[in-house]
Amino acid sequence: MISAERLLRLYPRAWRARYGEEFLSIVGDRALHVQQVIDIVSGAIDAWLSADVRTATAVGRLAPSGEGSMLKSLMICESTKLRFTTRDSLLSAAAMIGGTLIFSLVGIVLQREGWLVTGEILKGLAFPGSLMLSMPFWLMKGQPWKAQAAIVGISLALLTAAGYLATLI
């Protein structure tokens, strides 16, 4: 028989930290009915998907520990509605416009110098790469720099790989 403690693991870490103890105190050690199991599993799905639940469980977690997933960091940032300053807006716009210009110009120059594939990849990266570079100033604001660096770095690497594959087709 599935225990309540095992089902509790289906819920997000923040949810468990916030409601886990009281949840277990309600369910107790009794064997769960099928209806209860379905209710708990659907509650877990809701806990992962609902912005309201994230807002309620994000209290006190504005500075997530390093062991938290990067995705959850992003979700907390979004759900807690951090305030963005004019400086943040200008920096993200500069990263977008500057990045697009640099990627495009370097791509064009490299292509003229005979580096056709690399130039094509850089031109393809112009918009998505610039968007990723601007994210630390808005979507990822307030998150640990390691998480930001990992998300931006991995995304750029994946975009580069996708761009390279596209040149082979």
């Binding site: 009281e22 105190s25 309600i26 659907s42 509650g43 877990a44 806990a47 609902s50 309620a56």
Partner: protein, 109 residues
Amino acid sequence: MTKNRDDLLAGLGRFSEPALYILISLADGPKHGYAMTQDIAEVAGQKLGPGTLYGAIARLEARKWIEPLPAEDRRRPYRLTAAGQRVLRHRLESLRAVARIGRARLAEG
């Protein structure tokens, strides 16, 4: 303004009914989750599962219609906020109006 409060409660989707029961349960004072489920079963004849209960509690907390109190043992009591009282009062008035119309139509038929 009046309509907005109804919309807010209806905006809880499938949690709107459990949320209403929770607000009613907390109307006479703070309760923890287990006491709420017992009270709701007694008053409304509905046995809320833990997934539904905490889905509704989280939504009510996010809207600041209820707030947690310091935990007692493993249980954390919740209480109705002033905003929650207003929403509940208005919802109950709406339901009373609907019930009155329903009764009147039954009497006519």
